[in-house]
Symmetry: C2
Subunit: 380 residues, 2 copies
């Protein structure tokens, strides 16, 4: 086990109607807020109206930035940060999923610099200060509600990158499983793949922490247990709650303590697929994970056996990969380019971008040959 520090400052409010606490909490952070939302689903399902009415109740002045894209781009963050600066907002409220909350996290630190947010991703600058962030989560997937990570993409340079800094933890996050009732079937499945992928990235990460591995596997088991029934009963509160909580745990640190870190190799491959084909993050991960596991069946044999043993009580490598593949298929997630309807015309750009971005993990590094072979497994 490696040395570690547990210090996660996000206060997480979980359950039915927890949003009723918003006025009292918002008031703690000031009188004027930047409200960040996506492309309108929160308006359709009424969550927007509820949040607005609670903020008005607390006499909070609202400046709105809407239109964050499902695969969020740095340009939106730059514009929103400029508005936050000009309007001198006291804090930020993000209402949405991973893309909205990740963007809001980056707005919170970009507001205090003259640079573009992309300079953080290129390590040209470091944040010194952040606007307080309150997050209202509307989809179970990325775990951004209780961590200090944010992913953005740059369509000009064809890069999709993760950023991490303690300043970008949300101060408070509100998780009402009822808010995820209207998430469609496909997006629900992609969220489940995403949370499983986070657990796997840590499980395959560097360093040995058996307790963290056990929590990662327990979280995957929880998702596999809930998924089939939830997908045929999308308004089931208990199952929505269990998946929402599992998604938080999958990336709030609990499966990481004592390890050196996660691998992130599969995420890096998946990011290229989202970037080139604009497919959902979860779909990119189900494709990339199966190819990655198959390609690493020898190199990571000990870990795949451990995974099979802990998850299925069956250490067979072949069965373990097959079980995960069958699970992804059973919840309607693609496991190759064809199943995701990716245009064959894009194949060469995908491979070239994977090679150019030198995709690979922190622990399982990928050579050009490795990348090419994984690409062929995905395109087979």
């Amino acid at each position: 086990m490696e040395n570690f520090v547990i210090n996660n400052p996000t206060v997480l409010h979980f359950g039915k109607n927890v949003i009723s606490k918003l006025p009292a909490i918002a008031k703690l952070y000031g009188k004027k807020a930047l409200l960040v939302i996506g492309q309108g689903s929160v308006i359709k399902n009424g969550i927007y109206d509820e949040v607005i009415s609670l903020l008005k109740k607390a006499n909070i002045e609202i400046i709105e930035y809407n239109g964050i894209k499902p695969n969020p781009v740095y340009n939106d963050v730059d514009i929103a940060a400029k508005i936050a600066k000009e309007e001198k907002v006291d804090f930020i409220i993000a209402v949405g999923g991973g893309s909205v909350i990740d963007s809001a996290k980056m707005i919170s630190i970009t507001t205090f610099v003259e640079n573009s947010v992309w300079d953080f991703y290129e390590n040209k600058i470091k944040p010194l200060k952040a606007l307080p962030l309150i997050a209202v989560l509307t989809i179970a997937a990325t775990g951004t509600e209780m961590n200090c990570f944010a992913v953005l993409q740059n369509n000009e340079t064809l890069q999709k990158e993760g950023y991490a800094h303690p300043l970008i933890y949300p101060k408070h996050s509100f998780l009402d499983p009822q808010y995820t009732f209207s998430v469609p079937l496909a997006q629900t499945s992609y969220g489940i793949v995403d949370l499983i992928a986070h657990c796997l990235e840590y499980f395959f990460g560097e360093g040995d922490s058996p307790m963290s591995d056990k929590i990662a596997i327990a979280t995957i088991a929880e998702a596999i247990e809930c998924a089939p029934t939830l997908l045929s009963d999308l308004y089931n509160y208990e199952l929505r709650a269990r998946i929402m909580y599992a998604a938080t745990i999958a990336l709030n640190g609990w499966n990481s303590y004592g390890k050196i870190g996660a691998d992130w190799g599969v995420h890096n491959i998946g990011h290229v697929l989202s970037l080139i084909c604009d497919i959902p993050h979860g779909a990119s991960l189900s494709i990339a994970y199966i190819a990655w596991l198959k390609y690493h069946s020898k190199k990571a044999s000990d870990k795949i056996q451990k995974l099979g043993h802990l998850l299925y009580r069956d250490p067979s490598i072949e069965n373990t990969i097959n079980n995960i593949e069958q699970f992804f298929k059973s919840i309607g997630c693609p496991i190759n380019f064809k199943e995701a309807n990716i245009d064959t015309n894009k194949y060469s750009l995908i491979l070239n971008t994977m090679l150019k971005n030198k995709v690979g993990g922190e622990f399982y590094k990928l050579s050009e040959e490795d990348i090419t072979n994984i690409f062929y497994l995905m395109s087979a």
Copy 2:
């Protein structure tokens, strides 16, 4: 799943030589500290000298209170709180195990009132303020290092009670598994029973949160996996680290979220045994748990089956109880009064105190008949 809030403010520093960060952190809280220790084991093993030298390096003036008993009494807390008040200390540093840290937690709030600490336990007063507390843990067992609980006993009224308040979370806790190398075999075993008992209290607690149950079971599995080798190799860093971390997780909330609460029935029985016979907390729990499980084999049949399934892949109630009993025996922990060498002269006082204190759980309430039957199982 019930609504819940995750808000655990303790910063946990875990691993080899983490104490080197103490001077920088202690300085944040002031210039004068009350140092609370037990009956001398930290002096023998050198941890005391190391902490003192680091505090001197930070120019912290130290007022010492030593002599906290393994089953800590309220009287020590009252005396120490008076000293803290007179000396106008800025913060508290507790160096020791559960008894020392629990006492320090209660000193931190008693310093600000005119009452005896016992008035908190009797709900006569509420804390409004606490001195900041830094904990240096020297034994893996109670999980006090990352929670807001404290247990004290009152030898005059023959009560041993738990107290909970958000103000008593330690600000920082330092957990160096090397500090537990010198914990003797028996105390190491009792600590393992204690952490397993915490997981079981939540597992048998009220409310349904499958993810929290999975974490509870994963933590028990971790302890069962490490125990045999650790007990024959007490200076094994990896195993000391795994048990120390498991003990923290067993009572820092991670196995509780989404449940109504833990049962605590077995702890309440165990507290009477410690109170009357001055036996270690862990030993009282191994005795009480086996009797409790046997007595509840019908009433809690569904949960015991689930426990057996998750822990041993065997839902048989008889086998599950037997497996836990054999595990406790294998690590040298008593499962009845005889094995703990409890004087038969004390039996009637034990039963009477159990009845007088109305021991029982939050979920599994115990009638006088239940208490008497559990007593007979322990004394059989």
